[in-house]
Symmetry: C2
Subunit: 395 residues, 2 copies
């Protein structure tokens, strides 16, 4: 059943802010300029800026997919998950998140920092921009969150209550289906260019299905840390010297490698796009991002390790093995996310805007990379980058 | 803080039963004979039998360890976990459990079938008895529960609520500490024969700590199915043609291999005892139980597989790999449980009743088996049995 609550409208935003003293202290509502910038389909997003340049953003979850209407309800509880993630992640990694100003649980409205001076990382990569250090920032963000919200940073009994409290069945199901199943099983809602028919079908072998099954099983059973849960480059804002992860609606306790994998999968897509556009320098730079992200994750995680809450059997040798396993799992999860961006329901604009012929070449390179990541199982960021470089060069 | 509730006493049992019509219908309280048979330290257990031979058992959890008193509180919530396990497991594997007659949540009293015509499997093995088929029954029990309460048998969204509802932090911590940490890290409360000092210390290498860490991490993060959670041979009753698992106070969502591992660890201990007693025939029989249990588990699991709720990527190849991985994990978890029975806080009477010299020989054989299971990583029940046979023959 669709939940009923009052939706915000631009002309009512100032009054809403005035009614919430914590927010009213941040902007002068008498000079407020309000712009709705969400896609309006799943969330309403109001950028609020006053005459003196101060601002904040209000984001309200809709209880249904607006394009379809109330007949496709979509739980607004995802805003609870996002608020939880900002609140919990903010304790350990505030510099990598928008400042969080509060959550209105009755109307599913999040209030947070105005980051309109940043741009979405996906768009920047698509345009051929370089943001040096963004990948490393995300690596450090995941490391902090992974350490401080999981087995190594939280006392065992307390952790169990956190895990139980952060379940998110509806949102997890979306990832389970769209990322970890449908690209490999086929589905009515899959779509892709006609030219990619053979490539898409080549993903549906028993061997690749089993590999996807293994990752899906890990996603469904391994509660390692409070993940962002949807950390693709469209969930990251960048600006010189600043990297912020947002849109953590998919937050839940899952396998840490999944958060590392989504940016990796985007680097593959960026490389494929750069290759067909002849943007060699940018492509070569994108190929370095796998290691930039992983190395920063690993260094940050190692720096936190001396604080492990239970060092009795979580020793140095365990840490080495755990890091190696997490790196392997990252490569495999990255493959599933890359696959869905070519053949699944939810593509990303990186390749969609290309002309049909280069678009098909790029799509095929991504698919071939996916298959090698799942069948050959490269173990390190460098090996994953090498596989992607080989496949996009084949074009 | 210790919970306050009224404890049962033998002379008040008949009145208690009369006050509960479901129970009163099962026995004639006017001719009731009540015997308290629990160790009286953690639980009160009343066997109630009437003049016509009908009976039932009441089990009440104490809120503290009676030997120490209220200064060592011990959550009676474990009775909730046990009731949940009987109720849930009973839907799929009733023939391997005591019939469950209900739970009094206010006083933490479980009512169940009187199984005094059975005996505890540990005792039977210790005495050199053979109960053919008991190991296979336990394998089938674990298979049913694993399939029907986990990813393969429960729809994804419903499963997440089940997992969250079955958290059991205090009881899990006991296993995490006593089984998966202390034998390998050393602990004040570890104890063992003086003769085993070197063997006990040999468990505390970085390599074995890391192996224990890996298993502990799996135990703490992998929510695969609603486990029994403490399925050693002291939690199993046997009689010709009947095998019943009880005492599921440790039930929680964890790695399936853990439930398979505890009986395996007991088979190692039984073999070590048989060897020093020269009970070769019984020892050779015990060596077959690893495969008996595993093969029954695997066959039952395969028979359920066609009902997998989501066959899209959980295909046949996935199943083969999942079974192989589960078998490997079983061997490793078995090692940790075997180790704690020699050097940890909670030994079992299997070896403790031996004379000091054979007891040390048997203990050493178990320790050497533990080390090989964790370092050489045998992959199958047959290989685990072979390792245990070699080590107990060395004595």
């Amino acid at each position: 059943m669709t939940e009923q609550y009052e939706l915000l409208e631009p002309e009512k935003v100032a009054a809403y802010i005035d009614a919430h003293p914590d927010l009213a202290a941040r902007v002068d509502t008498s000079t407020l300029d309000v712009t709705e910038v969400g896609d309006g389909n799943l969330n309403l997003v109001f950028v609020c800026q006053d005459g003196s340049g101060r601002g904040l953003v209000l984001k309200q979850a809709l209880p249904y997919v607006r394009l379809v209407g109330p007949s496709w309800p979509f739980t607004p509880k995802r805003a609870v998950a996002e608020a939880r993630a900002y609140e919990v992640h903010g304790r350990f990694a505030a510099e990598y998140l928008p400042a969080f100003y509060g959550f209105d649980a009755a109307r599913y409205i999040l209030a947070m920092e105005d980051l309109t001076d940043h741009r979405v990382w996906r768009g920047a990569l698509t345009d051929g921009e370089r943001h040096d250090g963004a990948a490393a920032d995300i690596g450090r963000y995941v490391a902090r969150v992974a350490f401080h919200t999981g087995v190594f940073g939280v006392e065992a009994k307390a952790l169990k209550a956190l895990v139980a409290g952060a379940i998110s069945p509806e949102l997890c199901e979306i990832t389970e289906d769209l990322v970890l199943t449908e690209p490999f099983s086929g589905a009515e809602r899959n779509w892709y260019q006609d030219e990619l028919e053979d490539a898409a079908r080549s993903l549906q072998t028993p061997e690749l299905k089993a590999a996807a099954g293994e990752l899906k099983y890990a996603f469904m059973t391994r509660a390692e840390a409070l993940l962002h849960g949807d950390l693709h480059t469209g969930s990251v804002m960048v600006r010189e010297g600043s990297t912020r992860a947002f849109d953590s609606e998919f937050a839940f306790y899952g396998p840490i490698a999944f958060d590392l994998a989504l940016p990796w999968s985007n680097f593959v897509v960026t490389m494929a796009r750069d290759a067909v556009l002849g943007r060699d320098e940018h492509g070569a730079w994108a190929a370095t991002l796998f290691e930039e992200l992983w190395d920063a994750f690993e260094a940050e995680f190692r720096s936190l390790w001396p604080n492990v809450v239970d060092p009795r059997v979580y020793n140095e040798l365990f840490l080495e093995r755990w890091l190696a396993q997490t790196q392997r799992d990252t490569a495999a999860f990255a493959a599933t996310e890359a696959a869905r961006r070519i053949v699944g329901l939810a593509h990303a604009p990186d390749l969609e805007a290309l002309d049909p012929e280069p678009r098909a070449v790029a799509g095929r390179a991504v698919i071939e990379t996916v298959k090698r990541l799942l069948l050959d199982r490269p173990e390190t960021a460098a090996e994953v980058s090498a596989v992607a470089r080989e496949e996009v060069a084949r074009g």
